[in-house]
Symmetry: C2
């Protein structure tokens, strides 16, 4: 390996190191309750060195978020290789989403941060695009299954566009995750298991869309077991039972 190759690799390794620590800071303390000096201390480099990798604190945090979003898209991709009825396949993606949420607790809080304030515009154009690309990947993977559902005749295609259907599924999922974050809401709505709630709401939306077989007409707990066995054998959460009904 040449010297310059090694340098590149070392640089990449350091970037990983920084991102890893920044992720911990972000998840544990949000955006405000830590500063670049502290992060520099944690990775044993000077503050200036951080700025050799990232243009601003926001830029760095966006990079953290994008890395997580890429993992999410990767899980979606794995899930979309699941075979079966189209509604089973979209269910696998829903499963992937929950798998992700479990292994990245509070990720949605970080994602919310991105949408707020002047965050976006303080990041590099490159990183903005990278984030959008991973987001688009997630959408596309859902969208593909929706289109298959329509082609197969499992899902009505005369009322809504496939894009609107994908959007509805994503909206109910994200909305459920976000609302579950709030302790007060969990209390007032009597939510003990947020993940279960998310999946239940996904089921309701699929039924509302008329995606067959409807919840009542199929043993989706068996589907879940198969998803777990075939796609996510190392799933970090436990909910082998059907989610609603």
């Amino acid at each position: 390996m040449s010297v310059s190759e090694r340098k590149v690799q070392e640089r990449a390794a350091r970037e990983e190191l920084i991102l890893g620590h920044a992720r911990g800071f972000l998840l544990r303390r949000g955006f405000q309750d830590w500063n670049m000096e502290q992060l520099a201390g944690a990775v044993n480099y000077a503050k200036g060195t951080l700025y050799l990798h990232f243009e601003s604190k926001e830029d760095l945090c966006l990079a953290v978020a994008t890395r997580a979003l890429r993992e999410r898209a990767d899980l979606f991709e794995r899930a979309s290789r699941f075979t079966g009825k189209t509604r089973e396949r979209v269910r696998a993606i829903g499963f992937a989403c929950c798998e992700f949420a479990c292994s990245h607790p509070d990720y949605f809080k970080v994602e919310l941060m991105l949408k707020s304030a002047s965050f976006w515009e303080r990041a590099t154009e490159t990183r903005r695009q990278a984030h959008q690309m991973e987001g688009a990947r997630c959408f596309r993977l859902v969208h593909e299954v929706v289109k298959e559902g329509m082609r197969a005749g499992d899902l009505p295609h005369d009322r809504m566009t496939s894009e609107s259907v994908a959007f509805a599924l994503i909206a109910v999922t994200v909305g459920s995750h976000i609302m579950s974050l709030e302790p007060a809401m969990k209390l007032v709505a009597g939510i003990d298991d947020p993940i279960r709630t998310v999946r239940q709401n996904q089921d309701l939306m699929c039924d509302g869309l008329g995606w067959r077989p409807l919840l009542a007409d199929w043993d989706y707990s068996a589907t879940d077991a198969r998803i777990r066995r075939e796609i996510f054998p190392t799933a970090t959460w436990c909910d082998p039972v059907a989610t609603a009904g």
Copy 2:
């Protein structure tokens, strides 16, 4: 009017003035892109005066958000006085939510800000409670209609608790609003009218919940017209047609 009474009134008026300008700043520039000095200048007072009313910038912004949330709850309350079938009544609340979203563009962005970072803990306990109270009011108003729907037999009550149903409706609504904020998402999902999309998704969720009469079995465009006429005659948005189907 005594001197002290006048003082109190003047103080309240000034607080309103500050909150009004802060609202403009927040909606137009987010949280970061303005400072307390600028806000003080805008209302023609010194910075220190702002801190006679609010403990911190976050405290001030939370107060702005709570004022908006109160308006939202007020609209929900008006809407819940609508008469008709229970699904028509919950539809009126959905209508109110959209009416609110239209008259408070970008409100959800502000609401997101509250959930993120160390925002919450930098505000006064009093203001935190005020916000939670208005949030709980919104939930309760939806919950009441859900319970009525169950009592009336319009909505199955054996599968889900009334709280879970209310949560599902709120989650799909908030999720749709939030996802609609993102320009990239609007583009990729082909959303031209965000409000129409929100209402459509609410319809889908109600159908999924089995809330009768289902969308296909009732002329909800007539209901919308009646809601508009009886409850929101001055509605600031225009969508007199049915939203799905």
